[in-house]
């Protein structure tokens, strides 16, 4: 049973990494470690969107 839940939570974690949602989790965890007040999720995601603006990856055929 514990193996199953471990697998499922592992897969969920991978999915969140794939969609980029894990970035937020990591950021919050880091702020907590360093004792800093994190910015709002809205501001954080906006910052990430601005990065993407100038970092376009090609999509192949």
């Amino acid at each position: 049973m514990s193996i199953l839940t471990e697998r499922v939570s592992g897969a969920w974690r991978l999915l969140r990494q794939a969609t980029g949602e894990a970035k937020w989790d990591e950021y919050v965890a880091r702020c907590e470690r360093e004792g800093v007040e994190p910015m709002t999720r809205r501001a954080f995601e906006r910052h990430r969107a601005d990065e993407k603006e100038h970092n376009q990856q090609a999509r192949c055929c």
Binding site: A18, R46, A49, E53, H54, Q56
Partner: protein, 725 residues
């Protein structure tokens, strides 16, 4: 600090567990051998598509297990104690240590699109065997090798792009040639991809309705992520996919909604729509349209591929075409002209060997690799996966009745556009089909099916057959439009992203002489560069759509050759680097695919430029048409004197482009040859490889972690958590 994968003695104890491995790999080898034997020996009876599927899967498994491991360990000598750029330069943005499985997904989503779905469908006119052999052998020895080796060399250079590496490692002239070639080839690729979409959506209100709706759906997702619930990507993707399915179902009711007439668009109207759309999409902020559509496209990509694999296994359809058709030897096929050699190897680029991948394997992906050994699963493994997509597409095209296949894929000039004339044309080719059968097939998917060239409609038709057989329910029309939808979605994503990448390249290049132009946030530069890129591919698209001989027939060879000339550039770079690194004895690893690719592309280029057969040589075609015009006659399928002028103009232009691409590649190869001679004399030359820095992170090296790897990752994670006192 010991990483589990840096164990030079390899696979542990000599006896015991290896027996199991030997048994498994022997079984895989036997399955593969049986499948290949069935494909090679079956003649005249019904051949199941599953033989192709399992021949491919077992060949991939063996190649991955042995050849890619040989390249990683012996040739490239990947070193997991060496920190990757992601580790050394981590900034959370482009340099970012990424889980190998996640990066595999990202890389696959970036390399695979409509290309591997279209080429094999067209190549099926020569039978199923030539395509199958080239896709499988090509990927193992060429395509996957290129992707992996380029990724490795770029990773060792902090993720430099292909163009940069050519300039720094071969020379300035070769670098400039590479830059021009990459840009021009990208424009051709975008134009041909867009042509596939236009051909699939023209005169198809259902398709236009569903694809049109993807724009508001993506905009909705973009605003949702920006304002409603920032960052909730999985959630909004689930909503988006549900809306997408509704859009496909809704398309079936365009007639009832009274939209059928206003959504029945001609080819020309669609070109204008696409160009305007492409320009707007490339200047809008990416969060609005591009990013959310990319989420949808990626989800659909993975979903559809899984669905197709499952559908194939359940339906187990029989192949309808011959192993090798007469068109392979007489070169008179109506889908594209030319004999098996070299044109099968040109028509199937993506899925076997695709130069465009070198642009993704250098640059973005290598900046995210966690461990050097991961280039094997991401570079080699990712390309094997794309090859599997190509094999599925080949199967889907081969299970269609051949009369229908040729009615769909011959140019309108040949089929005449009606069931009666198309049936007469196809019967003339030696296949039996009646007008009534064509009408019934069209009715089953609620579309016209005569001369729907470009590959996408044929694939959609084949998939609707497979899915209807596998899952039942008489949903052929739904599945057809489902397939059209996802192909168009991939292509539009590729066109948007490509336009943007092209814009950055253009701004960067012009920025060398006019500094301010390189500023990507400066509107006048951004807008004018975007407009130039869109107009470039829009122009080629317009030419293709108006071509009396069929745009796909004329432009697809140009696309295939361009893509593989790009592969020649990438493989040339890889071969040069083998010599410069003093690894001459392994130069054959990229060298053999390079030699093959050069033989194929140069033969094809030569024939396309110098052949005196008007069906193949562009200039021969132009002069034959000119002679006809001067004699006051029409030429070939041309219906008016204007058509004849168009043929002369298009063929001359294609011929010039073809010759220019080949010349650029020759310049690069010549520059490379000089460098290789120098390197051999000196026994190696200094390169721009970044010196080794010891790696501190621990990660497993392959898809599945071994017990020892899991253990060392656990130990390492625990050591990270203890506070540094």
């Amino acid at each position: 600090m010991s990483t589990s994968t840096a164990n030079p003695t390899g696979s542990g104890p000599r006896s015991g567990p290896n027996m199991k491995s030997v048994a498994i790999w022997s079984a895989v080898a036997v399955v593969g051998a049986v499948c290949w034997a069935m494909l090679a020996l079956s003649r005249g009876e019904e051949v199941s598509a599953l033989w192709i599927l399992f021949a491919a899967l077992s060949s991939y498994a063996i190649a991955y297990r042995y050849y890619s491991k040989f390249i990683a360990d012996k040739v490239l000598k990947v070193d997991d104690t060496r920190a990757t750029p992601a580790e050394r330069l981590e900034n959370g943005q482009d340099f970012d240590v990424t889980d190998r499985r996640v990066l595999f997904g990202h890389h696959f989503a970036a390399i695979a699109g409509a290309g591997p779905l279209v080429g094999p469908v067209l190549a099926a006119q020569m039978g199923y065997l030539p395509g199958t052999i080239w896709i499988i052998v090509g990927v193992i020895l060429a395509g996957a090798v290129q992707d992996m080796v380029v990724m490795f060399f770029s990773m060792r250079r902090d993720g430099k792009s292909l163009g940069q590496m050519v300039r720094e490692e071969i020379g300035t002239v070769a670098g400039v040639a590479a830059l021009i070639a990459v840009f021009a080839i990208m424009i051709i690729i975008l134009a041909v991809l867009a042509l596939v979409v236009v051909n699939a959506l023209a005169e198809s209100p259902w398709g236009v309705f569903s694809i049109g709706l993807t724009i508001p759906i993506a905009l909705f997702m973009g605003f949702y992520l920006r304002y409603l619930r920032p960052g909730r990507v999985s959630e909004v993707t689930a909503i988006g996919v549900a809306l997408l399915l509704l859009a496909i179902i809704g398309g079936g009711y365009v007639e009832e909604m009274g939209l059928a007439d206003s959504l029945t668009l001609s080819h020309e109207t669609l070109v204008i729509c696409l160009v305007v759309y492409g320009f707007v999409a490339s200047i809008l902020p990416v969060w609005m349209l591009l990013t959310p559509r990319d989420y949808l496209s990626t989800f659909m990509k993975v979903g559809v591929i899984v669905l197709l694999a499952v559908g194939l296994v359940i339906a187990a359809p029989a192949l309808q075409n011959e192993a090798v058709t007469d068109f392979a030897t007489n070169g008179e096929g109506p889908v594209f002209a030319g004999k098996l050699f070299p044109f099968v190897f040109i028509t199937i680029a993506c899925g076997a060997l695709s130069g465009f991948h070198a642009l993704i394997s250098s640059g973005t992906t290598p900046k995210m690799v966690a461990k050097e050994s991961h280039v094997r699963m991401i570079g080699y493994g990712g390309m094997l996966m794309e090859s599997f997509v190509a094999i599925s597409a080949l199967i889907a095209a081969s299970v269609i009745d051949q009369g229908i296949y040729f009615s769909m894929n011959a140019a309108a000039g040949a089929t005449g556009g009606t069931p009666e004339t198309a049936a007469a044309f196809v019967n003339g080719l030696g296949f039996t089909i009646t007008p009534a059968e064509l009408e019934a097939a069209a009715a089953s998917v609620e579309e016209t099916i005569i001369s729907r060239t470009g590959g996408a409609p044929t694939l959609a038709f084949g998939m609707s057959l497979i899915f209807t057989e596998a899952f039942g329910g008489g949903l052929a029309a739904f599945w057809y439009h489902f397939a059209i939808m996802f192909e168009a979605l991939f292509i539009l994503t590729a066109v948007d992203a490509g336009t943007r990448v092209g814009r950055f390249m253009l701004q960067d290049t012009i920025g060398n002489v006019w500094k301010r132009y390189a500023d990507t946030s400066w509107r006048p530069a951004a807008w004018s560069a975007s407009a130039l890129v869109v107009l470039a591919w829009g122009y080629m698209l317009w030419i293709g759509v108006g071509d009396p001989l069929g745009g796909i027939n004329q432009l697809f060879p140009l696309f295939g050759i361009a893509n593989q000339l790009l592969a020649a550039i990438a493989l040339t770079l890889a071969t040069v680097l083998m010599f410069k690194h003093g690894l001459a004895k392994f130069a054959w690893v990229p060298g053999i695919p390079l030699a093959w690719d050069l033989i194929v592309t140069m033969t094809a280029s030569w024939q396309k430029v110098f052949s005196d057969n008007p069906a193949i040589g562009y200039f021969a075609q132009a002069s034959a048409a000119r002679e006809a015009r001067d004699a006051g006659e029409l030429y070939g399928v041309a219906k008016t004197p204007e058509d004849v002028d168009q043929i002369i103009y298009n063929s001359t232009q294609s011929g010039i482009l073809q010759a220019a691409f080949a010349l650029l590649v020759i310049v690069i190869v010549a520059g490379a040859a000089v460098t290789v001679v120098k390197a051999i004399r000196a026994g190696g030359l200094p390169t721009t490889e970044v010196p080794k820095v010891e790696s501190k992170i621990v990660a497993p090296s392959d898809f599945f972690a071994t017990k020892e790897e899991k253990e060392s990752v656990r130990e390492w994670e625990a050591s990270q958590k203890t506070p540094v006192s």
